[in-house]
Amino acid sequence: MARMNMIEAIRSTLAYQLQKDDDVLIFGEDVGYFGGVFRCTDGLQETYGLKRCFDTPISEGGIIGVAIGMAAAGLRPVVEIQFSDYIYPAYDQIASEAARLRYRSNGDFTAPLTIRTPVGGGIYGGETHSQSPEALFTHICGIKSVIPSNPYDAKGLLNTAIETNDPVMFFEPKRLYNGPFDGDPDKPAMSWDSSELGEVPDEEYRIPLGEARTIREGNAITILAYGTMVWVAEAAVRSHGIDAEIIDLRSLIPLDMKTISASVEKTGRCVVVHEATRTSGFGAELAALVQEHCFYSLEAPVQRVTGWDTPYPHALEWHYFPGQARVAAALEQVLEAA
């Protein structure tokens, strides 16, 4: 058992995959010699060689296009898009190609690739280093979307993602790389050392995609969250002494509807929390599913706590970010509703 932050958990998983399977290749902007701007591939080129982990032109569409060709040829590329804010030039290759290759060729060609990319704000990254575009990918059939909230899950989910024969979006909440974050920027940064989920077993394990993690059990209300917002919600619940059940979805597609339904049927109330902009966000899907599946158990309308429908502002970052106060206010409102 080792104490790891999320970067180390990801890096050790990538190392394991490189060592285990010659068909795994890692590439992206600055990922080779330098080891990635967030250091997730640090040392991999040195250990596994130039051809296993290398730099690419600054060309997101090119990176994904090349990865699809490689994957179709039998390799298992794991590519990094430096910030998810830069993924849009690759959107056509992801949405029209990777996601549909299996279907349109009836399994003749497939694209087993993993796309790692940091998401989320809280690092003063402004509008171009802070976005959470997961809903643009969950809307596309044929790809899976995964988002870990801690080092333990990052390792187990990444192993599964790489070994999956479908294309997988692997979103990494960059605010959680070095420690859990409760949404309060004025507090000193926490490290994963103090968290149980920063304990990462040495042996390899896999977490199936589509199994949520119940972060905290409770009876009064269900919170559906993922990524950074898991820890913001957790802090809000703790400080307000709310008997909430917090479900960390971990994987958005496929989605663990069983766990969600069971919880909402128990509590009768539900708040959905995400950092991404509100309109047509994944929260809309969650709210719709909850009312489809659990309408007769609901005692109050489902509420969403989200980023606002604005670009992620630089100076006003903490006005945008759906922090503890906004989460707590929504919880109280839903709890008070008759």
Binding site: L25, K51, T56, P57, S59, G61, G62, G65, V66, A67, I68, G69, M70, A71, A72, A73, G74, L75, P77, P89, D92, Q93, S96, E97, L101, R102, Y103, R104, S105, N106, G107, D108, F109, T110, C141, G142, K144, T164, N165, D166, P254, L255, M257
Partner: protein
Amino acid sequence: MTKDESDTNSDLYIPEPLHRPGDTPDFSHIHVRRNDNLEQPDVLVDSYETERHAGGLIRVMDMQGVASGPWLPQVTPDILRKGLRAMLLTRLMDDRMFAMQRQGKLSFYLKSRGEEAVSVAQTLAIRKTDMVFPTYRQQGVLIARDYPMKRMMCQCLSNAGDSSLGRQMPTMYSSREYGFFSISGNLGTQFIQSVGWAMASAYKRRDDLAMAYIGDGSTAEGDFHYALNFASTYRAPVVLNIVNNQWAISSFQGIAGGQSKTFASRGLGYGLASLRVDGNDFLAVYAVTRWAAERARRGGGATVIEHYTYRAEGHSSSDDPSKYRPNEEASAWPYGDPIERLKQHLIVIGEWDDARHNALVDDLSTYVRDTYKEAEALGSIAAGTGIDPKTMFEGVYEHMTPTLDEQARVSGVGTWRE
């Protein structure tokens, strides 16, 4: 303020084609020489040594079918007859399928008339183990590789014999077995994917190449530039073909920026060997492809080839080219017809004659007609496809998901649950 009143030379330029409906096509400015004295360089030359090849036009045959010059390929008459046969078969199948589309048996069809030499000669110049990343206009590749025509027809009919279950529009074939990558309707995407395939082949230290196609119009997509850049950076063993058939639906090639510099010359800027070839000259296409394939197999990296040709018919069954170009433009095209030219060459070298040609055409026509009948017996969009609706929900992911299973159940086609 109009230009006349102002003292500026600034004015917005919008390129226009040479001819529009009503004009008499005139290509006399195109100087049809046998070749531009473009020598055949060593396959491992530095890319800049191909500068004249990218700006000129590599030709082997003159318009009387006489072949000569530095690019004259070593190719047996048997291979040339195989090429002629495959081109004829491609054209006959195209004609048949187009007619069937007009009868409502197919939703759509797309011909490659005038461009058959490109796909057929190239296919015969590479190995069966090389992976082709085609557009919708390279049906000749499958035919040259002896893919069962009935399966192609079943794909076009979207019937029970379609190996991809009617999921794609007609002509969007896929066959890993025959080295034919699944065609995408999104233009250009295959170009950069082919580079990834080639990189994988190199990584595995295999000898196989990738060979990709893109239309003149689609070179304006980012994928074209990604492909040239990545192919150059990683010296990928790939042949990158631009089929300049002068038109992209109704837009002439100048709209894609083809007016001031040849499409081939774009490769030079990326440090790639770049050749421009008479795409209606079977022998020249064969020769440049052999050269590019050998360069790639010997570690010289990618070659860009522009095939200078002409789309002799409408873009597709949905198009009416008389709305935007003169009907006579195709026959006025100074580089002739690829089938006629190869036939003529074979006659000139004493390996063919009109009687054999006519007999072959009759033979192939019967074959196409009979094969079509067999294919149509398996269903069509018009008569019912025989495709199980349950298959619609399969293959989105490797395994059935609860969400899709539920949607299938609600739609009434069934469930995968016990």
